[in-house]
């Protein structure tokens, strides 16, 4: 079997580097805007920590009885950095060997990792949005405060937005490129 085109191997290498670089940037952001916060509040989700205005958001969340957002509540933050490094190593492997099976492995790993990550993200949004302190100051029958997975949503006086941040784009864009390379190598490359 032929190896992957040299040019595409370089692209794959760059994709792997970008994915590892995502460790240095926030992966996802949740934005909250309200009349009293015209400048907006931003919660940054990194591979290994929650940052941004998380203290201010926790201060506001106590009115509706939402749990406190703390790094130690999320075991994922300990695991994800390793998962990203493994992804980088797989990328290197593909670029170095140029083997199509390695590329398949790389893509499958990405899908599993990505799906698991999005599931855990949704899971925690659901947990925090629904598990509310029954003694909270503000209680509205039937109201949950689960932020959207992607896009905008109105939650009381806040408009909540959920979008990939720099680190997220450094993973998502290379993922798309890698899938396209796989499709090309597998189905469209002429002999």
């Amino acid at each position: 079997m032929k190896t992957i085109k040299p040019f595409l191997r370089v692209v794959l290498l760059l994709c792997a580097v970008a994915m590892v670089a995502s460790l240095k940037f926030p992966v996802w952001k949740i934005i909250l805007e309200a009349p009293q916060y015209p400048e907006g509040l931003k919660m940054e989700i990194w591979s290994n920590k929650i940052a941004g205005d998380v203290d201010k958001i926790n201060g506001l969340n106590h009115y509706i009885g939402m749990g406190v957002i703390l790094d130690e509540n999320f075991p994922e933050l300990k695991i994800i950095p390793y998962c990203v490094v493994i992804m980088g190593i797989l990328g290197l492997l593909v670029a170095a060997t140029g083997k199509r099976w390695a590329l398949w492995l790389f893509v499958i790993y990405q899908f599993i990792f990505g799906a698991w990550g999005m599931y855990r993200f949704w899971y925690w949004e659901y947990e925090y949005g629904h598990n509310l302190d029954p003694h909270a100051a503000i209680k509205i029958e039937g109201m949950a405060y689960q932020p959207p997975l992607l896009g905008w949503k109105q939650l009381l006086n806040f408009v909540a937005g959920s979008f990939p941040d720099t680190g997220g784009l450094l993973v998502i864009i290379p993922s798309v490129i890698i899938v396209l390379i796989l499709l090309y190598e597998q189905f469209f490359r002429k002999n």
Binding site: D55, K56, G59, Y63, A137, I138
Partner: protein, 660 residues
């Protein structure tokens, strides 16, 4: 410069003017109608910021007012020399030391002249200095937080009026005595001995480049006249400070007559670099002194008072080259240096001309010893030798001059109640506009810098009379905004001010906003009684003193139920605001407190002392509307009779825990 005398001169002059109208045809009334675009020029749309910060002296309020220009909207009153119950300034345990002096706690003063700190002759937006005239002091405000951070008392000073003018790089701020007093025999002299025994002093307060910390480096002992205003030289005249002096008659009674006899008083030129040389050469005498130096530490959120015990005094009559007098017509007030540093404009309050001195001619006269004699051992330079020219018939009662960047000067005229624009080089009057009424100082944004910002001139008036809806016998104080963008000045706006706006300084907002602080960082809070989180909140009894380490966060205090306090205890509420967001202060008040509320900014700790006078349960609550549940931010403290033995208990939202 607020005096009944000046007001009565004004009224007297108006009478003369009235008499003149009757005997001749009626002069055309001054056009006071606004031209059409004035409103547009001062309109700042909701949600938009003003272009310029204006800092006005609060006059007899002792404070500083902060305004936005061109809207004239008041943004803040910064407490400086007077207690302020609204913010707890001078009431909280942390701020009480700021108002300490050698006379004990002085809760008020009369603040006259704000001065922005500067670098290379330009406002740098770091600090604002302001003088206290009555009990002589100089305060430093930090413009990152708009709070008073240091107050230094000036020893050997009667009335700190010619103050706190800053040198080109804020090496020094100065303080010169308006009232000369005797210094021999602990000052216990007959007032009639004024001519021989009374002396003036000029303090040179060194300012640390990094921290702004002030330190009284030396004082000059100078002849016993009244020192009124000052400006430091800049560019070519850097190294000098110029003071206006009146009462060269040395009167000690009925000064309105007795100090207005001589045709000429003086401008005093002081070579401070020369004085520093004498100081370094050990020519100063150490005088024992006793003066307060109060510093507020932003990390401990606490002020401390240090009593300083010594000052170095240089007697200028023994030290040639430090001081020179230049004759100046009739009781000068303003003494202003133009942007080039070459021209010094003096304003004799009763004079018919504005003399403009040349710095280079003054230096030549000194080198040529072109003196007409001396006054108390200080050489007097010949008037003509230092004079560049006079502005003829500018108006009545010139007081103070500031400058634009195009070589024009703007002088205020108290008696004729107008601003006159003239050219510094040609000395020709270009334009004049009336003010409403009796302008004192005026202010051009950065108008005393090497490169003025210009654009506006602000009139700081002494009388408002019919300009505003009346409010009984006491009327509002006021300033007026004029555009100076065109050849002709144009009145844009009247706006009320606090106290009496003696003088003001203004600079573009971005210069100040570079230093903006939004809240204090909790992790940097080193207050002795801080509680950085609710777990650290506690109540500790130490004899009759009860220390409550409490926290405030939307929307509760921790602890909010306290028992075990007794009548006559000294209860200290040490409140830490745990918020770490902009614009979320909490207030604290308790029934029967003999002081004030506390206003605690995010990350800050402040302490209210409370001595309960009777048994009972006392409510306490947050006074600053902090959230939707602000009204729920309240608590109770139970006070048991003196001599009882209650258990100290405290809690928030659960069963009380007993104090250890």
């Amino acid at each position: 410069m607020k005096t009944i005398t000046l007001k009565s001169i004004g009224i007297f002059a108006s009478c003369i003017a009235a008499a003149g109208i009757i005997s001749s045809c009626k002069p055309k009334k001054v056009d006071s109608a606004l031209s059409g675009d004035a409103a547009a020029k001062v309109y700042v749309a909701p949600g938009k910021y003003d272009e310029i910060y204006l800092f006005t002296s609060g006059g007899f309020s002792g404070q500083v007012g902060v305004y936005g220009i061109p809207s004239g909207r008041m943004l803040k009153q910064v407490p400086v020399f007077s207690m302020d119950a609204e913010t707890g300034w001078g009431y909280s345990e942390e701020t009480k030391p700021m108002l300490m002096t050698s006379h004990g706690f002085v809760p008020w003063d009369d603040s006259h002249h704000p001065q922005l700190s500067r670098t290379e002759g330009q406002d740098d937006g770091r600090w604002l200095f302001i003088n206290a005239n009555n009990t002589p002091r100089i305060a430093r405000l930090d413009l990152g937080v708009f709070k008073t951070r240091e107050i230094i008392e000036l020893p050997n000073t009667g009335g700190n009026h010619a103050s706190p003018f800053t040198t080109q790089n804020t090496e020094y701020v100065v303080g010169a005595s308006r009232f000369s007093v005797p210094y021999d025999k602990q000052g216990d002299e007959a007032i009639a001995e004024y001519k021989d025994k009374f002396k003036g002093t000029i303090s040179f307060i060194k300012v640390d480049k990094e921290t702004g910390r002030m330190n009284l480096n030396f004082q000059l002992l100078v002849p016993g006249v009244d020192y009124d205003l000052a400006r430091a030289g800049k560019a070519v005249s850097d190294g000098w400070v110029f003071f206006s002096c009146y009462n060269s008659e040395k009167a000690h009674s009925l000064l309105e007559v007795n100090a207005s006899q001589r045709d000429k008083d003086f401008i005093m030129a002081v070579n401070w670099k020369k004085a520093e040389e004498y100081l370094a050469a050990g020519k100063g005498q150490k005088w024992s002194a006793n003066y307060a130096h109060n510093v507020y530490d932003e990390k401990t959120h606490t002020a401390t008072t240090t009593m300083e015990k010594e000052v170095t005094v240089l007697d200028v009559k023994d030290l040639p080259g430090v001081c020179y007098f230049i004759p100046c017509p009739k009781s000068p007030h303003g003494c202003d240096v133009d942007p080039t540093g070459e021209y010094i404009c003096a304003s004799g309050k009763l004079a018919a001309v504005i003399p403009v001195y040349s710095f280079s001619k003054m230096i030549k006269a000194i080198e040529a010893k072109d003196f007409e004699g001396d006054y108390d051992g200080v050489p007097v330079i010949k008037y003509e030798a230092a004079l560049d020219g006079e502005v003829e018939r500018p108006g009545l009662g010139p007081l103070h001059t500031e400058f634009d960047a195009n070589g024009n000067a703007y002088t205020s005229f108290f008696v004729s109640s107008e601003i006159v624009k003239w050219n510094v080089k040609t000395k020709q009057v270009i334009d004049r506009v009336p003010t409403y009424y009796s302008i004192g100082h005026l202010c051009v944004p950065m108008g005393d810098n090497i490169t003025p910002y210009g654009k506006y001139v602000i009139a700081l008036n002494k009388i408002t009379k019919d300009r505003y809806l009346p409010t009984g016998p006491e009327l509002t104080q006021s300033a007026q905004l004029y555009s100076i963008e065109g050849e002709k000045m144009q009145l844009l706006l009247d706006f009320p001010t606090i106290g009496e706006p003696h003088y003001a300084q203004a600079c573009p907002a971005e210069i100040v906003r570079k230093h903006e602080v939004k809240f204090y960082k909790l992790e940097e809070n080193n207050h002795a009684y801080v509680a950085k989180n609710e777990k650290d909140a506690k109540v500790v009894r130490n004899g009759n003193d009860v220390h409550i380490y409490a926290t405030a966060i939307r929307s509760h205090f921790t602890p909010d139920n306290i028992e075990g306090v007794k009548v006559g205890d000294n209860v200290y509420f040490h409140l830490t605001n745990l918020e770490q967001d902009w614009d979320v202060p909490h207030g604290f008040s308790i029934k029967g407190a003999n002081n004030s509320e506390l206003l605690i900014l995010p990350g800050e700790t402040q302490t209210l002392k409370w001595v309960p006078d009777r048994a009972g349960v006392f409510p306490m609550y947050c006074t600053d509307f902090c959230s939707a549940l602000h009204q729920e931010m309240q608590g109770y403290i139970r006070v048991s009779p003196a001599g009882s033995n209650p258990t100290l208990k405290y809690s928030t939202g659960e069963e009380a825990v007993s104090a250890k």
